[in-house]
């Protein structure tokens, strides 16, 4: 009986190896705050709904741009975003480490005021993920002699569009942003497995997807009392078309019989995969006690529109302090919860359940008409991952990321 069990488990292991990497390797669409945007907002934990009064405000709350100081502003931000995910004891007893590193200009915006109207045009990259892996394992398991895996994956989302806002009275403003949503995803994966009994597997997959959509965002801001502002913003992304294309080829030889198995020819499939993105309602409060201090808190509510996703609430808070009129520092904390429902004993792969927390720090140097900002955002989370196709076995996982940002803005 023991021998039987062992043989079964060895076979099982091979199947595991051949299937576990089929887990979706995309940018993380289970979390909404993977990358923070805007020099001031990002260094305050992405808390900007009640402030939003410069060219980066078009993305957080378009109503805020009605209160921009100065007639014209422009800003551009660049981020170096590194992310590392570790799945413990996943490949035999070894950890599986995935790393992503991107250097992107993740923001650009121009704002112009005219009397009590404000207009803005901005370009935002809220999600950017580039991963490349070349793994080699010798004898990871007693039944596996060699395992090679090569993987390259890119997933970037772009938003670009105009915004407008108007001040109504002294304490109220309303704004609207209309973004064009474009997402480009591609993944190429190749693995080779040689078992100790001489059989081998070769797998190749190339997947590519594109999304076109619109994201309207409406916001209001209100100042009930002097020194206090309250903001609310609502947005939803609607996909217009989302073509997907996949090429797959798989080759397996069984040493005993010497025959090759199925799927040896390249197979191309095309489909339309329009995901339903959640409705996002943000609510924020900001307190401006003195020209040197600022405190703000945000609540972001995401209502899922797709089956299998849960509604979540993210919290964030930030503060800004001016050491003197030319130097300011910022600090923020935020949550980045997963939008997948909670797991139980019946959860099967592919599944990752991980909640992430983040902290941000920033410094800005001001001159009469320009400013430059340096900032760092660190996030960390731990959870569980179900990686083996068809299995309910889970592994511990942790993910941490570091984003360095440097951006500039100026009065035009």
């Amino acid at each position: 009986m023991k021998k039987d069990f062992r043989r079964k488990s060895l076979l099982f292991s091979i199947l595991i190896y051949s299937c576990f990497v089929a887990a979706q390797l995309k940018a993380d669409d289970t979390h909404y705050k993977n990358m923070l945007v805007g020099e001031r907002a990002a260094t305050m934990g992405g808390t900007y709904v009640a402030i939003s009064d410069d060219s980066t405000g078009c993305y957080y709350n378009p109503a805020g741009i009605a209160y921009a100081v100065g007639d014209s502003l422009s800003g551009s931000g660049n981020v170096l975003h590194k992310m590392k995910t570790v799945y413990s004891e996943t490949i035999g007893t070894e950890d599986w480490v995935r790393e992503s590193e991107t250097l992107v200009p993740n923001y650009f915006g121009v704002l112009k005021k005219y009397k009590s109207y404000s207009f803005c045009f901005s370009y935002v990259v809220p999600e950017a993920f580039i991963e490349h892996q070349d793994l080699v394992f010798d004898n990871p398991l007693s039944t596996v002699k060699k395992y090679y895996q090569s993987l390259h994956s890119e997933d970037i989302t772009y938003l670009i569009g105009p915004s407008g806002a108007v001040r109504i009275g002294d304490s109220f403003s309303i704004g609207l942003t209309l973004y064009y949503h474009y997402r480009s995803f591609m993944r190429q994966q190749h693995y080779f497995l040689e078992a100790t009994d001489g059989s081998y597997e070769v797998f190749y997959e190339s997947k590519k997807q594109r999304e076109d959509g619109v994201m309207p965002k409406i916001g209001i801001q209100w100042s009930p009392w002097s020194l206090l502002t309250v903001g609310m913003a609502l947005d939803q992304t609607f996909l217009i078309n989302a073509p997907s294309q996949g090429d797959l080829s798989y080759h397996n030889t069984d040493n005993k019989t010497g025959t090759a198995s199925l799927f040896t020819t390249m197979n191309r499939t095309k489909s339309e995969v329009k995901r339903k993105l959640p409705t996002h309602l943000a609510f924020g409060v900001a307190y401006f006690p003195t020209p040197s201090q600022l405190y703000t808190v945000d609540l972001d509510y995401y209502q899922a529109q797709e089956k299998g996703r849960a509604d979540i609430m993210n919290y964030s808070g930030g503060t800004e302090y001016y050491l003197n009129p030319t130097n300011a520092v910022r600090f923020g904390l935020f949550t980045n919860y997963t939008n997948l429902p909670n797991t139980d004993s019946s959860t099967v792969a592919p599944y990752e359940y991980i909640d992430i927390l983040g902290a941000s720090l920033g410094y800005t140097s001001y001159s009469s008409s320009s400013s430059i900002t340096l900032g760092a955002i660190y996030t960390y989370g731990s959870g569980k991952a179900w990686l083996y196709s068809g299995s309910t076995t889970s592994r511990n996982m942790k993910r941490d990321s570091l984003t360095l940002l440097f951006s500039a803005s100026s009065n035009l």
Binding site: N78, I174, L176, I218, S368
Partner: protein, 279 residues
């Protein structure tokens, strides 16, 4: 999502434009760097720097009269006015230009010049005070600085880095020297707008009134310029200022509106004649 509801947001947004308000709002949003630059502490230094180079150009065109007693007299009158009604963060300088042309200049930062020719035309101290007050008003109201949008110029390191990172686009990409040339040209050829000149005249009267000087004297001085506009001595003055009729009427209106017809002020004719005699 309900398509109709989508459009509703859009309609609300459009309608809200009809209720737009005007004027400044939510000043508490201004952060420390806005407040600092708004109060123009650093801008004043830049203004003085700029004004010095414009003044140097004025002095390059007309020689300065190096008579210390006379300059001291002008300076006392001018400083007295500026101490009471000028910008407290500036130090004002008053000089006499050694030329028979009739004119007076104000450069940003508090540099004010009167020509020998103008002084010879004046009859009493109230007229001198009026001319100096007019020029002072130009500096106070920053007419030249505003017209050139001087505040947009930024040569700091931060601005340089910002430019490299792609976020900056400076409004005044003109070299400072070009801006300076423009200011000088404005003083010598174009002049300021009618509104600015009328404003300066009015402010001058306000200053005269507050110091107890006779108001009609200044108007008389303007009238006395008339014969020289054609002759040529006040040619530049006539090119760079609105007509005497316009200025006179504007001032009369101001006097009537503020009930100053019967205002009796001092003229200090004797003191004036004594100090300016040997010109």
């Amino acid at each position: 999502m309900n398509l109709f509801r989508n459009h509703l947001w859009f309609y609300i947004f459009i309608i809200s434009f009809a209720f737009a308000s005007f004027g400044n709002a939510q000043e508490f949003r201004l952060r420390a760097h806005h407040v600092y630059w708004k109060n123009q502490e650093a801008n004043t230094e830049r203004e003085i720097d700029f004004g010095r180079s414009v003044s140097a150009k004025i002095l390059g065109k007309y020689p300065i009269l190096r008579n210390e007693q006379k300059v001291r007299y002008i300076s006392q009158i001018g400083t007295g006015i500026s101490a009471q009604l000028g910008r407290p963060e500036l130090r004002y300088y008053f000089g006499i230009l050694d030329t028979d042309e009739i004119n007076a200049f104000a450069a940003p930062g508090g540099y004010i010049f009167v020509t020998k020719g103008a002084l010879k035309l004046m009859r009493n101290e109230a007229q001198l005070a009026g001319v100096l007050a007019h020029e002072l008003a130009h500096v106070d109201q920053k007419h030249i600085v505003r017209k050139l949008n001087l505040q947009g110029f930024d040569r700091s390191l931060t601005a340089g880095i910002a430019q490299v990172l792609g976020g900056a686009s400076l409004s005044a990409k003109i070299a400072l020297e070009r801006l300076n040339d423009l200011a000088f040209k404005m003083l010598m050829e174009e002049g300021l707008s009618k509104e600015d000149e009328a404003d300066a005249d009015q402010k001058a009267l306000e200053m005269l009134m507050s110091l107890g000087y006779d108001l009609q004297s200044y108007l008389d001085y303007l009238q006395s310029l008339k014969p020289y506009l054609e002759q040529g001595q006040a040619k530049i003055l006539s090119k760079t200022h609105p007509t005497i009729e316009f200025r006179y009427n504007n001032l009369r209106e101001f006097i009537i509106k503020n009930d100053l017809e019967n205002f009796k002020g001092k003229k200090n004719e004797k003191r004036f004649q004594k100090k300016i005699a040997t010109l």
